[in-house]
C-alpha cells in the first residue's frame, strides 16, 4: 500500500478513473498510514475512518454504475480543524470547543463532498490559528516528519505534516498571516493562500476576518491547483467573496509545464525580504533558485517595498483587534464548554469569564487582550487606525512592484523548522517569523510556497514564496509548476523523495 500513498492526487485520480484502484483501497491505504505514523506525529485531531470508508464505497459503487465523477472523486483529503464539519468534531485546536460537532458544513467542505473527495479527518493547529508552530494547540503538538523534535510550522502544522508524511495527498488549510505557506515551507510541501475573497470563508472559524483565507495544501503544484478548482469561486454566504469568473487553476499549472514557460517572465525579488535575519542555508537555496530561473530565461529584478518593514507591527494590531471581537462568541451559551467560577456568584457574567479563562490558552488570551487594547477608547487611532493606514501603504508597495514585474519572490520563511520550545517564551520572536508571509495577507494578494531544497546546515526543507497581483492566482500555478519542474529535473527526484523517505521509514517502523 506504500505505493498508493506516495501517489500524487492527480496520479491517484487517474488510477481511480481507470479503475485500477478503488476509492476504498486508496482510503484504506491512507488510514493505514495514519495508524502507522500518526500516534507519533499527531497531525490529526480526529480520524473519521468508518465514515471515510463508507463514503469511498459509495463512490466506488457510483463509478461502477458508470456515473461521470469529478477529477478528484475518491481522493482522500485531510481538513484543518478550523473548518466546520457536520459529521466530525470541530475544535479549532481549542479546549473551549472540545467535542463540539457543528450543525453545518463550511462551504469549502460542502464543495469537497460535492466533488466526492473523501474526508479522512480533522488536522491539528495552533489554537484558533494563533501561532506559527502548532505548539499552541490545546491538544498537543504536531511533529515535523523531517525531524520529530521540530515544529511543523503553524498554524496549519497538522495539514502540512499529514501531507508531507503521506497520510493524505491533499489537505485544506487556512492562512491569516502565513498559516498555509510557512508550514508548507518547513515540511517540504506545497501550500497556497489564494487572493482574499477567492475562496469562501463561510464555516471557517474566524481568526481575523479581513486576513483569513482558506487554501489548498498538497505535495505538488498541480494537486494544489486541482483542489483550488474544487473549493474556489463565489459564495453568496461570504460577503467578501469575489464574483470573478476564475480560470481553471489546473489548466494554469499545466501551462507551466510547457517548454519556455519561464522565458521573459519578470520576477521581482523583494529587497526587504532577504538578507540579514535569514538563515544562511535559506538564502543559499533561494539564490540558487534565482539562478535557475535566470537560466530558464526569466528576468530577475530587485524591487523595494519600503513599508513591509511595518507589516508585522500592523498585522499584530489588526489581527488581535479583529480576533478579540471574533472570539467574543465563545461564551458558554450556545456551544462549547461551560465552566463555573471557583468563587463568587454564579451569574452569566462570571460563568462567561470563568469559561473563557479556562477554555482559552495563553496565546489566545494574549492576543485578545492586545486586540481589546488596540480598539479601546483613546488608543484606536494610534493603534488600529494607524495599522489600517499601513495596510494602504503596503498595498501601494505591491501595486508599485507589480507595475514592474509579473511575480514577486522571497524565501517563504526566514528559517527552516525550529525546535519545539525555541520561541515559545518570546512572543515577538515568534511573530517576526511571519515577516515574509504577512504582507500578502495585509494586501489580499495570493501567495504560494513550494519546496526548493534542503538547507545544507540542517538538512531541512526551504520554501520559495511566489506572490502575484490580486486575482492573478493562475499566475502562481503556472510559474509555480514551471519552477517545480525545473527543480525536480535538477534534483532528479521530488523534494519529498529525499530525506523524509528515510525519516518516515524509521517512523513507520517505530510506530509498528
Amino acid at each position: 500500500m506504500t505505493e498508493l500513498i506516495r501517489l500524487t492526487a492527480a496520479e491517484l485520480s487517474s488510477r481511480l478513473q481507470d479503475k485500477s484502484v478503488s476509492a476504498v483501497e486508496a482510503t484504506q491505504a491512507h488510514l493505514d498510514q495514519i495508524t502507522a505514523v500518526d500516534t507519533d506525529l499527531h497531525a490529526f485531531l480526529y480520524v473519521a475512518a468508518d465514515a471515510a470508508l463508507a463514503t469511498a464505497a459509495r463512490i466506488d459503487a457510483r463509478r461502477a454504475a458508470g456515473e461521470e465523477l469529478g477529477p478528484l472523486a475518491g481522493v482522500p483529503i485531510a481538513i484543518k480543524d478550523v473548518l466546520t464539519t457536520l459529521d466530525m468534531p470541530t475544535t479549532a485546536g481549542s479546549k473551549i470547543l472540545e467535542g463540539w460537532v457543528p450543525p453545518y458544513d463550511a462551504t469549502v467542505v460542502r464543495r469537497l463532498r460535492a466533488a466526492d473527495l473523501i474526508p479522512l479527518g480533522k488536522t491539528n493547529m495552533d489554537e484558533f490559528a494563533m501561532g506559527s508552530s502548532t505548539e499552541h494547540s490545546a491538544y498537543g503538538v504536531t511533529r515535523n516528519p523531517w525531524d520529530r523534535d521540530r515544529i511543523p510550522g503553524g498554524s496549519g502544522g497538522g495539514s502540512a505534516a499529514a501531507v508531507a508524511s503521506f497520510q493524505a495527498p491533499l489537505a485544506l488549510g487556512s492562512d491569516t498571516g502565513g498559516s498555509i505557506r510557512q508550514p508548507a515551507a518547513v515540511t517540504g510541501s506545497v501550500g497556497v493562500k489564494p487572493t482574499y475573497g477567492a475562496v469562501s470563508r463561510y464555516g471557517a472559524i474566524a481568526l481575523a476576518s479581513s486576513l483569513d483565507q482558506v487554501g489548498p495544501v498538497s505535495r505538488t503544484v498541480f494537486d494544489a491547483a486541482l483542489l483550488h478548482d474544487v473549493i474556489g469561486g463565489h459564495d453568496p454566504l461570504d460577503s467578501t467573496s469575489l464574483t470573478d469568473a476564475w480560470p481553471s487553476m489546473a489548466a494554469a499549472a499545466t501551462a507551466g509545464l510547457k517548454d519556455g514557460a519561464l522565458k521573459g517572465v519578470r520576477v521581482g525579488v523583494i529587497k526587504e525580504l532577504s538578507g540579514s535575519g535569514f538563515q544562511a542555508g535559506v538564502t543559499q537555496r533561494f539564490t540558487e533558485t534565482l539562478a535557475l530561473l535566470t537560466a530558464a530565461g526569466a528576468e530577475i529584478t530587485e524591487v523595494s517595498a519600503p513599508n513591509f518593514e511595518y507589516a508585522v507591527a500592523a498585522y499584530y494590531l489588526i489581527l488581535p483587534a479583529e480576533a478579540s471581537s471574533n472570539l467574543a462568541r465563545f461564551d458558554s451559551v450556545r456551544f462549547g464548554i461551560r465552566v463555573d467560577p471557583a468563587e463568587g456568584s454564579l451569574t452569566s457574567e462570571h460563568v462567561m469569564a470563568a469559561t473563557r479563562e479556562a477554555g482559552f490558552g495563553p496565546e489566545v488570551k494574549r492576543r485578545i487582550i492586545l486586540g481589546t487594547y488596540a480598539l479601546s477608547t483613546g488608543y484606536y487611532d494610534a493603534y488600529y487606525g494607524s495599522a489600517q493606514k499601513v495596510r494602504t501603504l503596503i498595498q501601494r508597495d505591491f501595486a508599485a512592484a507589480f507595475d514592474q514585474v509579473d511575480i514577486l519572490v522571497s524565501p517563504s520563511a526566514p528559517t527552516t523548522a525550529f525546535k519545539f520550545g525555541e520561541k515559545l517564551e518570546d512572543p515577538m520572536a515568534m511573530y517576526l517569523n511571519d515577516i515574509t508571509t504577512i504582507p500578502a495577507n495585509l494586501a489580499g494578494v495570493p501567495g504560494m510556497s513550494i519546496p526548493i531544497g534542503l538547507a545544507p546546515e540542517d538538512g531541512l526543507p526551504v520554501g520559495l514564496q511566489i506572490m502575484a497581483p490580486a486575482r492573478a492566482d493562475a499566475r502562481l500555478y503556472t510559474y509555480g509548476a514551471a519552477i517545480e519542474q525545473l527543480l525536480e529535473a535538477t534534483w532528479g527526484h521530488t523534494m519529498l523523495d529525499q530525506a523524509p523517505a528515510l525519516a518516515l521509514a524509521t517512523t513507520a517502523k517505530g510506530a509498528i
Binding site: 466546520t84 479549532a92 450543525p103 474566524a206 461570504d238 460577503s239 471581537s325 456551544f335
Partner: protein, 506 residues
C-alpha cells in the same frame, strides 16, 4: 423599592427647563433577518428561526438584506434625511447572553441616513420640529425570559432562557438632536413624536409598527437645566418605553423626579433607567461608566455600501403622502370636528375609517361604529379594533341601517354575528332573523292596542305634549321585541293619535 420624591409638575417647570432626546427603534418587517435568510417572524416556536449566522456559531458570516437597506433609506427619506453616499456597518462589542455574537452589528461613524426632521402638531395646535441627527441600521438581540424569583423580572431570577428568533431582526434606530424649548409640552412632545415615527413607518409599510409587539421601542433621554442657566444638566436614558402613553408618563415622571432630586441639592447620575408600566415609575439601571467601551470598528465581514443617487431618487418616488398631510386632507374630506378626528387618530383607526368610507359608508357612520361599538368590543377582547371586522363588512352593515333594514340595536347584534364568523351582515340578518319589522299594519295594530290601554297618554299627546308618546313607543317596541324602527313607530303613534281624534278609536 421605595418610591422616590416627586416634585409637582408645574413647580418643576417653574424651576427647570426640560431638555429631551429620543432614540426610537423601528423593527423592519422584511421577510428575512438583517444578515441571514432566517424568517423574520413574530410568534414562532423558540429558536426555530436560527442559523449559524444569527446564532453566532463559529464560522457564521453575515450577508446584508437588500430590502432592509431599501426600507431604511425610505424611512430616512420620509424623515427628510440625507442618504449617505458611503455607509458601513461596525461592530459594537459587549457581552450579553441575548447577543449571540457578543457584538451588535450596527452603524457608527457612517450611518445610512442623517440630518432629517419631523414636524409634529400638538393638541394645542403648537407645531414642534424635532431635528433628527441620524437613522442607522442594526440587528436586534434575542429574547430573554427570566425564571425563578417572584416577579419574572431580571432581578432575583434564578436563571434565564434565551430564544434567538428575534436575534438578527433588522432595526432602524432614529436618534434625535437635543430638543430644547419643550417646556410644559415635554411629555406630549415625546408621545406625539413617537406616534409620528410610528405612523410614518406604518404608512411606508416598512414596519408592522405594533408597539405592543415591540416593533417600535423608545428610549427617552431627559435632563433638566435650572432656569437661567446655560449649562445642560446630566441626563438619564429611560429604556424600552413601549407604548405612546408610557412615553408621555415616563418623560413627565423623570422631570418630576429629577426636579425633586436637584431641588433637594442632590445630583443626577448619568444612567440608564427602566420604565415600570405597572407602577408608573422609573428605576435606576446600570450607571454609565468606563466599562462602556464598545470598541467600535468597521465590520470586516461586510463591505461598505454606496447607495447610488439614482436608486435613492427612485425610492423617493415611492414615498406615500406624508401622514400629517394625509390627516389634514382626510379631516377636511370627512368633515370631522377636531375632537372627532382626534378620537379616530388616537384609536389608530384612520385607515379603517378610510377603507370603510371607500367601501361606500358615510364618514360619520364609519367613525361612530369604529370608535364606538367596535372599539368597545375590541377593548373587551384585548385586540386591535381593526382586526375584528373588515371595513367592507362594516360598510355593508351601515348600508343596511341606512336602508332602514336594521335599527342600531339590531345592527349591533348583526355585528356580533359578523365578528363571530357567521358571515356577511346580510347573511347574519337572514340567519338570525333580525330584520326590522317594516310592515306598518303590524305596527299600527300594536300601537292602537297600546294607545287603547293608556288613554291618559293619548290625551296628553292630543294636548300637544308629544314627549308623552315615549311611553307608548316603549310599549310598542317591547311588543315587537325590538324588531321595529323606533323613529317609524313614533311617526305612526303621532299619526294614530291624530286619527283617534277623528273617532276611530274609543
Amino acid at each position: 423599592m421605595a418610591k422616590p420624591e416627586l416634585m409637582d409638575y408645574d413647580k418643576a417647570l417653574e424651576l427647570f427647563e426640560p431638555v429631551l432626546g429620543f432614540e426610537v427603534h423601528v423593527e423592519l418587517n422584511t421577510k428575512t433577518k438583517m444578515f441571514c435568510g432566517c424568517a423574520n417572524e413574530f410568534g414562532s416556536g423558540a429558536n426555530t428561526n436560527t442559523c449559524p449566522t444569527c446564532l453566532g456559531l463559529p464560522g457564521g458570516l453575515p450577508q446584508v438584506n437588500h430590502k432592509a437597506i431599501e426600507s431604511s433609506i425610505r424611512l430616512g427619506l420620509a424623515l427628510g434625511c440625507e442618504i449617505a453616499e458611503h455607509s458601513r456597518f461596525a461592530r459594537k462589542n459587549y457581552f450579553y447572553p441575548d447577543t449571540a455574537k457578543n457584538f451588535q452589528t450596527s452603524q457608527y461613524d457612517d450611518p445610512i441616513c442623517h440630518d432629517g426632521s419631523l414636524t409634529i402638531e400638538l393638541e394645542s395646535g403648537r407645531l414642534v420640529t424635532v431635528e433628527i441627527e441620524r437613522a442607522h441600521m442594526e440587528d436586534d438581540a434575542g429574547k430573554l425570559t427570566h425564571m425563578g424569583g417572584s416577579t419574572g423580572r431580571i432581578q432575583g431570577a434564578d436563571y434565564s432562557l434565551v430564544d434567538y428568533n428575534r436575534g438578527g431582526v433588522p432595526l432602524v434606530e432614529i436618534v434625535t438632536q437635543m430638543i430644547e424649548g419643550a417646556e410644559h409640552d415635554a411629555p406630549e412632545i415625546g408621545r406625539t413624536y413617537v406616534a409620528g415615527i410610528r405612523e410614518i413607518a406604518k404608512a411606508l409599510g416598512v414596519s408592522n409598527a405594533r408597539m405592543e409587539e415591540g416593533n417600535v421601542r423608545c428610549d427617552a433621554n431627559v435632563s433638566l437645566r435650572p432656569r437661567g442657566s446655560k449649562v445642560l444638566g446630566t441626563r438619564t436614558e429611560t429604556k424600552n418605553v413601549n407604548s405612546l402613553r408610557s412615553v408621555e408618563r415616563a418623560v413627565r415622571y423623570e422631570i418630576q423626579r429629577q426636579a425633586a432630586v436637584l431641588h433637594a441639592g442632590g445630583t443626577i447620575t448619568q444612567e440608564t433607567r427602566h420604565w415600570h408600566e405597572d407602577t408608573g415609575i422609573t428605576s435606576a439601571g446600570r450607571p454609565k461608566s468606563d466599562a462602556d467601551d464598545y470598541r467600535y470598528f468597521p465590520e470586516p465581514d461586510l463591505v461598505p455600501m454606496a447607495p447610488s443617487r439614482e436608486w435613492v431618487e427612485e425610492l423617493r418616488l415611492t414615498l406615500p403622502e406624508p401622514p400629517a398631510a394625509r390627516r389634514k386632507r382626510l379631516q377636511a374630506d370627512w368633515g370631522f370636528a377636531n375632537l372627532e378626528f382626534q378620537d379616530v387618530v388616537n384609536s389608530d383607526l384612520m385607515d379603517a375609517v378610510e377603507a370603510t368610507v371607500a367601501a361606500g359608508a358615510s364618514a360619520q357612520s364609519a367613525r361612530k361604529w369604529w370608535t364606538g361599538e367596535i372599539a368597545r368590543l375590541a377593548n373587551a377582547a384585548g385586540v386591535a379594533a381593526d382586526s375584528l371586522v373588515q371595513p367592507a363588512q362594516l360598510a355593508a352593515l351601515i348600508a343596511l341601517v341606512e336602508a332602514g333594514t336594521l335599527t342600531d340595536r339590531l345592527a349591533r347584534q348583526v355585528l356580533e354575528g359578523v365578528i363571530a364568523g357567521e358571515g356577511t351582515p346580510a347573511e347574519v340578518v337572514a340567519s338570525r332573523g333580525l330584520a326590522v319589522v317594516s310592515d306598518d299594519g303590524a305596527l299600527i295594530a300594536a300601537i292602537d292596542e297600546a294607545l287603547s290601554k293608556q288613554p291618559d297618554v293619548l290625551a296628553k299627546i292630543r294636548d300637544g305634549k308629544l314627549q308623552a308618546a315615549g311611553a307608548v313607543i316603549g310599549a310598542v317596541m317591547k311588543a315587537m321585541r325590538g324588531q321595529a324602527d323606533a323613529a317609524r313607530v313614533r311617526e305612526l303613534v303621532l299619526e294614530r293619535a291624530g286619527t283617534a281624534e277623528s273617532g276611530s278609536v274609543e
